[in-house]
């Protein structure tokens, strides 16, 4: 057993943030002479860090969160929206598990939209445009409300790990020489490791405009044996609201009566703040000509940026080259908040020189006289190829060290937040000596996300897509609560009352499906064009629209899912989530050939799924391993996963 943290010295100093106004220097950094002991340390407080910190603190761990800048906590560094296809699914799943992102988006939402509203329920997705400041404040408020959480400003320069053969994390060193100790460290530094910003040929060090970069931590990770690689991402320029001719840009209406993102938000009154208008415009032929003529100045094409960028969120100069046949690209003009003077032009990510940004913007309808508040830039950063992680997001190399978010080579707030939550939950479970949480591919898109990155790795910033999931039809936004709230309750982030509410809703759906069957209307509802509301008109009380949508989805997909899943399950066992103990001595299984023993020793599979996919591991070999593991479990009835 690892040392329980209760035996370690308690924190002597903690600056409780509720006494301190946000963003002032009164949030003092830890000084050089102090030694602080905690149960958990979160490095970085972006979207991954915030979820990780909340999960740990809510699970009762004395948690320290260390951030470079207090007023950068939960900043939306790129687009001001939460959700979208697949991302909306992740946020609903995160919410059902007890995460914070959905609730903050509801509090800050200024424009709600359901993507694919005319398509099937499995692919409908929520996207919420947020007031950028309100969003950060909502998350900061949640952090402040946690009595177990201490927030510190400072730069973590090195990780401390000891022991052999698999060292365990002991804490972190700050740049000012202070040391903070904990048996659990979750690193969520996003794009800040050795970050380099590019605008045209200009380069500057930093992970976000106005922020510094973290260099020491990159070196520290390398020293601990991690392999690091480089990716790039970009962000569009920000425009002044009053310099745009809105009259020529069509409105993209938001929903009048949107469904809240979070199960914790009330349906009424909703939305919670005044809704804003979003507008649409398009790039023009002149825009494309100008960009093509100036490719020589684009860092992406001059070779100045070597890291790979995200295919699913390409820069505008990338788009005019790659989709040369398109004569225009759509641009969404999204206000950053009711009181903000800024507009975010989604679709115009760029790292061209300032003067070229200025001139190509002016070729776009509505932007003829645009004033740029801040020019777009690209960020190049170190990431840790995620094949070095276990499915719990703990590193294979160092016990008790977890990595989450963009640091793992993913892209997007939602992907980051989901990893942060899972890392937080698993870290806390590990400190408590409880079995870990690994979501199966059939349980959640989040399970697919983590399985994909840890087993296959990434070759570009990884964006979640619903099509990555072979169980897409079963993993809907609408049933996220029924899939995952039990899990959230089991790990301690969902209250009894919340769970009971979900169970009651589940029961109402089941009863209604039964009633449809009794009325002989199931067959009719299976037709794609037949809707529940019209079919059941005059048949007594109807379900609320959100539950009705789930009834429809369940009935319409049912036969289909059975057939499809049966076909898929042949190749992809659903039972593959079963863990394989980390520290198993493969050379000690006499029934296996030397070849297989060696291979298992180097690959160190962590689940039966991984084990099965290793070439050469035959059914008889699997059988031999199963017998060996069963014998081990009998010898040692503890929880073998953590050895």
């Amino acid at each position: 057993m690892r040392n329980r943290t209760s035996k370690q010295p308690r924190a002597r100093f903690s600056w409780k943030q509720e006494h301190v106004p946000r963003g002032t220097s009164a949030w003092r950094p830890v000084s050089a002479w102090s030694v602080n002991a905690f149960d958990a340390i979160i490095v970085g407080l972006g979207h991954a860090g915030a979820e990780a910190a909340l999960a740990c603190a809510r699970k009762g761990l004395k948690t320290a969160a260390i951030t470079l800048r207090l007023d950068g906590i939960a900043a939306m560094s790129c687009n001001p929206s939460i959700g979208g296809t697949a991302k909306g699914h992740l946020v609903r799943e995160l919410d059902a598990l007890g995460g914070e992102m959905a609730r903050a988006a509801d509090l800050a939402g200024t424009h709600f939209i359901t993507l694919n509203a005319s398509r099937g329920p499995a692919v409908q997705a929520t996207r919420v445009l947020c007031d950028r400041d309100a969003y950060a404040l909502a998350i900061q408020g949640a952090l402040k409300a946690e009595p177990n959480l201490t927030i510190m400003e400072g730069e973590v320069e090195a990780l401390i790990a000891e022991g052999t053969p698999r060292p365990a994390i002991r804490g972190v060193h700050l740049a000012n020489g202070a040391e903070v100790q904990a048996p659990l460290v979750i690193v969520t530094t996003g794009t800040f490791l050795k970050a380099l910003m590019h605008v045209g040929s200009e380069k500057s060090v930093g992970g976000r405009a106005g922020d510094a970069a973290a260099t020491g931590l990159s070196e520290s990770l390398k020293k601990l044996g991690f392999h690091l690689d480089r990716f790039k991402t970009g962000t569009p320029p920000r425009l002044f609201h009053d310099s745009i001719d809105w009259s020529v840009c069509p409105v993209q209406p938001g929903e009048a009566a949107p469904r809240p993102f979070s199960l914790r938000s009330p349906h009424s009154p909703f939305p919670l703040r005044p809704q804003l208008a979003c507008h649409i415009t398009h790039t023009a032929e002149a825009t494309h000509q100008l960009l093509r003529a100036n490719l020589a100045h684009a860092p992406l094409f001059t070779g100045q940026i070597s890291g790979r960028g995200p295919r699913y969120c390409p820069s505008i100069e990338d788009k005019v080259v790659r989709f040369a046949s398109r004569d225009r690209h759509i641009v969404f003009l999204q206000p950053e908040g009711a009181l903000s003077p800024l507009v975010y032009p989604a679709g115009l990510s760029t790292s061209m020189p300032r003067e070229i940004q200025d001139s190509f913007l002016r070729t776009i309808p509505g932007l003829a006289n645009v004033k740029v508040a801040r020019f777009g830039y690209a960020v190049e950063y170190d990431y840790v190829p995620p094949t070095q992680l276990l499915p719990t997001l703990e590193t294979k190399q160092i016990a008790g060290l977890y990595l989450a978010g963009q640091l793992n080579g993913t892209s997007g707030y939602e992907e980051a937040a989901f990893q942060g939550l899972i890392a937080g939950i698993n870290g806390a479970l590990q400190v408590r000596g409880e079995p870990p949480l690994v979501l199966g591919r059939s349980e959640a898109h989040g399970g697919v996300l983590i399985d994909e990155i840890v087993s296959k790795g990434v070759d570009e910033p990884f964006r979640m897509l619903t099509s990555r999931s072979e169980f897409r039809l079963a993993l809907r936004e609408g049933n996220a609560e029924f899939r995952l709230r039990e899990v959230g309750h089991r790990v301690g982030l969902v209250s009894d009352a919340q769970l009971l509410a979900t169970r009651a809703r589940r029961a109402r759906i089941d009863e209604e499906v039964e009633r449809l069957a009794k009325l002989g209307k199931l067959q009719a509802l299976r037709q794609p064009s037949i809707r529940y509301a019209t079919l059941m008109d005059g048949e007594g009380d109807l379900l609320a629209p959100d539950l009705a949508a789930e009834v429809e989805a369940q009935v319409k997909y049912e036969g289909y899912l059975k057939a499809a899943i049966a076909g898929i399950a042949r190749d992809l066992d659903v039972g593959d989530d079963r863990p394989v103990p980390m520290a198993i001595d493969w050379s000690n299984i006499p029934a296996l050939s030397m070849e297989i023993r060696e291979k298992l020793g180097t690959r160190r599979p962590t689940t039966w799924g991984h084990l099965r996919k290793i070439p050469g591991v035959t059914p008889p070999a699997l059988n031999a391993i199963a017998i060996h593991l069963r014998r081990l479990e009998q010898l040692d009835s503890g929880s073998p996963q953590w050895r």
């Binding site: 296809t85 759509i330 039809l473 794609p528 499809a564 050939s593 059914p619």
Partner: protein, 437 residues
Amino acid sequence: MHATIVAISTPVGRGGIGIIRVSGPRARAAAARVCRCGLPSLVPRVATRVDFAAGDTALDRGLILLFPEPKSFTGETVVELHTHGSPRLLQMLLTEILLEPGVRLAQPGEFSRRAVRNGQMDLAVAESVADIIAAESEAQVHAAAAQMVGALSIRVEAARDAVLRARATVDGVLEFPEETDGAEYDVASHIAEARATVVDLLAHGERGRLIRRGARIVIFGPANAGKSTLFNALVGVEMAIVDAEPGTTRDAIEATLEIAGLRVSLVDTAGLREGAEGIEQKGIERTRSALAEADIGILVIPPGASDSQIAIWEREIDPSRLLAVFGKADLVQATVEGDRLRVSGTSGLGIPILRELLEQRLTQGGIGEAVLVTSERHLDALRRAAAALDRAIAVGSSLELASAELRIGAQALAEILGSDASTELLDAVFARFCIGK
């Protein structure tokens, strides 16, 4: 690191030469063990003369060939030892080689399996290796050869690409609904294109089955029409008992012959007769079940049969598989019998023309040159792919369902190439290989 494998690659028994093949990282060291003065200096892929020995005892003089990785059959370093073909000698050398640490005997098909794993060939090509070894008819050799040079793989890959393109369009619309306006109108045509490619392959598959399994031709008709005489004439040997008494043939009799390079099972059956009883009735039932499996049914019509009778007999098999002829043509004088062929097993009248007709029927679609799907495994995968694509079209605008079907279709096609094959599938495929291949 994989074990080094070794096997005698030539057939068991005495022969002019015998070949031992070694593959893997220890291949050179293993070969050196049986070279009298150690491994001579070898130019890749050039035969070098060498004296073979076990221990200090010289055993034979032969040739040695080195194929350094990755340019070898398996993709690993391969050494081939060519000796004189004494089974005892080969065994002695093999025993000596197996003393090298890290070297073990190869399992059946293991060389080919490594070739697939190392990307030297795909699964369909590997299977053609087994096919060509097992080929019994000329057409099987041609089909295996076509598959070996990748003719099937190219077509399957094209079909799979079409399916993946269709799916990319569907998922593009679903994942990026705001950026792909208009793309959904292309979805139906993309899926239709993918389906056409698969259906085309499947059509080849039905013909390919004739090559793999051979064709079945069943001779049937009323009793005493001259079926058995015709059977004997086609086979060229008296196998069926021929008698003027109706109902002589009660059990189906079968013979194998080659027509147009195809292996053909020719079946003679009991005569169809109203009111047959007992043993004979059973014989007629057997005739019907033989017809159910037939690729061609030759209806032999006795002279003087009425049109209504003929119509009844013709109903025993569907028109596409029916070939009706008049039998006992030697007994009939100058009667005009429409456009049906007149044959006589006794005199040989019409037999060469009948053979030609059968050849034409069996080879329509061009066996020999065409890309052919000869394996049941491939055919099954193609059928599943086609069914999935049919459903993808049927679900219409429910694009998430279409996407799920396209995924199933692409997976089925990938199984043929082995790019997505499970261990179980690979085990099943390589089980039919022989050792040393």
